[in-house]
């Protein structure tokens, strides 16, 4: 048994130590937010926060996590009471198929918690690890700007 701290609660996990966190979140804990996209750390669909930093849950074996603080989109709120970042995505209708969106939200969350006044270039660079195939990028950027403003900051023009 391995103990993981997820969204503030401890969980006893019965899984092989080399199991990537993603499968534990999805299959053992029924958390849908993190998605399997590539298993290679190339697309960001599985992004969660580990100690407040964005991480590819598809690459993180649970044995390596110790008591690090894991956060998923389920920890940001519910559809009735969304957190600031998911609410901004809702307001901007920033999804098409939406498969990438939980990962986008988690990566945005990580940036804005650390710096709610990024430049536009910093925002785009920060989101670069996450892929969207529907082409919802413009809306995701709008949502991130809206969330930054709602958190008391704002995204600064950077002449991109």
């Amino acid at each position: 048994m391995i103990t993981l701290t997820i969204n503030g609660a401890g969980h006893q996990i019965d899984a092989d130590p080399d199991t990537p966190l993603l499968y534990v979140l999805r299959d053992e804990l029924a958390l849908n937010g993190a998605k399997f996209g590539c298993g290679l750390g190339q697309c960001g669909a599985c992004t969660v926060l580990i100690d407040d930093k964005p991480a590819f849950s598809c690459l993180a074996p649970i044995a390596a996590l110790g008591n690090r603080k894991i956060r998923t989109i389920e920890g940001l709120g519910t559809s009735e009471k969304p957190g600031v970042v998911p609410e901004a995505f809702e307001t901007e209708q920033a999804a098409q198929c939406g498969y990438c969106i939980a990962g986008m939200i988690m990566r945005t969350q990580a940036l804005l918690e650390r710096n709610n006044r990024p430049t536009e270039a910093e925002l785009r660079q920060h989101l670069a690890p996450n892929l969207c195939r529907c082409g919802t990028h413009m809306r995701i950027l709008r949502a991130a700007r809206r969330a930054a403003a709602a958190m008391g900051g704002g995204v600064q023009e950077s002449g991109t």
């Binding site: 899984a15 092989d16 080399d18 199991t19 990537p20 499968y23 999805r26 299959d27 029924a30 958390l31 849908n32 937010g33 998605k35 399997f36 996209g37 590539c38 298993g39 290679l40 190339q42 697309c43 669909a45 998923t72 989109i73 389920e74 940001l76 709120g77 519910t78 559809s79 969304p82 998911p86 995505f89 809702e90 209708q93 999804a95 098409q96 198929c97 939406g98 498969y99 990438c100 969106i101 939980a102 939200i105 270039a121 785009r124 660079q125 989101l127 670069a128 690890p129 996450n130 892929l131 969207c132 195939r133 529907c134 082409g135 919802t136 990028h137 413009m138 809306r139 950027l141 991109t160």
Partner: protein, 733 residues
Amino acid sequence: MSGVSRRALLGASGLVVSFALTRSPAAQEVNADRLPGDLDKYPFLDSWIRIDPDGRITVFTGKAELGQGLKTALMQIAADELCVSPAAIDLVTADTVRTPDEGVTAGSHSMQDSGTAILNASANVRLLLTEAAAWRLVTSSDQIELRDGTAYGPTGQSVTYGELAAAYSSLHVAAKPGVPRREKGLRLIGENVPRVDIPAKLSGGAAYVQDMRLPGMLHARVVRGPSDGTQLKAADFEAAARLPGIEKVVRVGRFTAVLATKEWHAIKAMRHLQAAGWERPGPALPSEDLRRAIRGLPARDVPIFRYAGLPTPSGAKTVRATYSRPALMHGSIGPSCAVAQWNDGGVTVWTHTQGVEPLRRSLADLLRLSPDKVRCIHVEGSGCYGHNGADDVAADAALAARAVPGRPVRLQWMREQEHGWEPLGSAMVVELEGALGNDGRIVGWRHEVWSNAHNGRPVSGGGLLAGLEVDPPFPAQMPKPIPMPEGGGDRNANPLYAIPNASGLYHFVEQAPVRVSALRSLGAHMNVFAIESFMDELAQAARSDPVDFRLVHLEDERAREAIQTAANRFGWARRTKGGDGRGCGFAFARYKNLGAYCAIALEISIDRDSGAIDVRRVVAAVDSGEAINPDGIRNQVEGAIVQSLSWTTREAVGFDTPHRTSFDWSAYPILRFPAVPATVEVHVIDRSGAPFLGTGEAGQGPMGAALANAIADALGHRLRDMPLAPDRIKAMF
């Protein structure tokens, strides 16, 4: 002669269809004797709408939500006509037991086929409710007001829809043609109603087939070689079956799947079996570029169009150009997935296929069942953009689950399986020749296009990967060209411009070196790229402004308005002259010459050192007919612009002779955030009351061509072969 009357389309069987058909806005107006949209195929109202005694309204569609906002738009239509809020409606999407057979959700057809059917069915139901309420409340129909699920009479007496439904029981009556739409009251149509599927997607709700967890469910992986055309070498299947957590190794002929309680165990067993290696039993892939290879293969020549006119005069200036596209990938972010469960000798499959009914028939063929023993229920997956692995994985799950009757099996492909096995969008080549008269108008035009098929969707066991692996294997499906006016490789090869002395020829290459099928917009991306690049080349030869040159050759008023809207909103006339790495580009098309009109203007700058394109501003105008949800249209067109930017500037599926080498996102890079445009504006031209034209595929072609035109404007040289990649741009400086 006017554009409409002189134009004729050539079908495969000769001159058959007048151009009036291609110019008419939507199928529902073609024949007054027919009911609108798919209501003609399913005329009974209860195929589309049910009202329960408790007042709940259920609406049925055979189309599927693919992330394009279909559910929300259809709910808006029904709610608007039935005078209720969208929340009062339950929408049931594609399910072979519950919904009408509306074929595949493809070709930007959902609003025309299903939206139109639901609109007219709802108007019929509203009429029935009104008449029943008038009888019940002893008044006349014109005194009845419907509001939020209740019918009110003139003195405030009322009866609910549920009471009316309970008393008059059945909507099993045929729709009447020509029932007028509602005129009074608040309207939902045309409003930016928020998407009903988005909240769950933003909060970790169960939103996808990938999220299904049924009691007793097993996780499965299919085991194959690395790509289309390869197969696994003999492996130690018994050793794999003894690996930790493995419930079963299923083998049916060459088809192999591993089943486990835990997903990670299934993945490890799959890797174990893959270590046996692979081989390519069939002929090697061409060592040359697929585009050249396809041009060298035998082709069936299909005439596309022929417009009469005087022969090109001897003094005319002739321009020729050849354009091409490599094979492209759908590249869904979530690998394909399905859940299957066998009970009582039949199987239920939860699938993100675009066509539950064709999939059902194909699975029944594969599994040797009668179709009524197969149920396919659509559940959303990752965006597909055409025929990806969705159908194949449904067959994989159904075969795997057959070994464990009663137990649900969830099978998801790995990333390299989606990249390696999905059917590709065909490589294509277009040759264009045009002639300019002394007045600067086009006096001759010839379009030739070479392509593999654009429709390999399954209609039999042989249309599914597993069908080629079972013993005995099913014969592989032979592709056929899709006839005009929609077309496949020749889609949008017929320019909307009024050009005399013009012809088009489709060299349909049946033999496909690689697996191909429908990728969003089919041949339109390539043909519009070529035609709209060529229009700029001709405009340059005629010393004409690209926008003016298009307008001079266009008679279609809606096309002209789309172009003028994009040009005006962009400030085309005031743009800075191109050069020194900065340029502007313009392009236009009407999708299939039947669907939405889309014009795009954009501005780029090019980095001299890297050749990278910085897209500074994109302005689009789109006319999709009546706009049910304008923000939904904007979302689709924004997506088309960004997706086409990726296709056109950086994508090409790679091969060596034994296999496909684009096995992941490092070997098939797509657009990432730092390269997306600085701004994208989409202006929706709403045609209230006009037929729906669909939106999803309108922007890909114009965006590709606008980029090529902007590069030519910026550098004074033109790139005609996609991808318009930085190394090739840099070489032009």
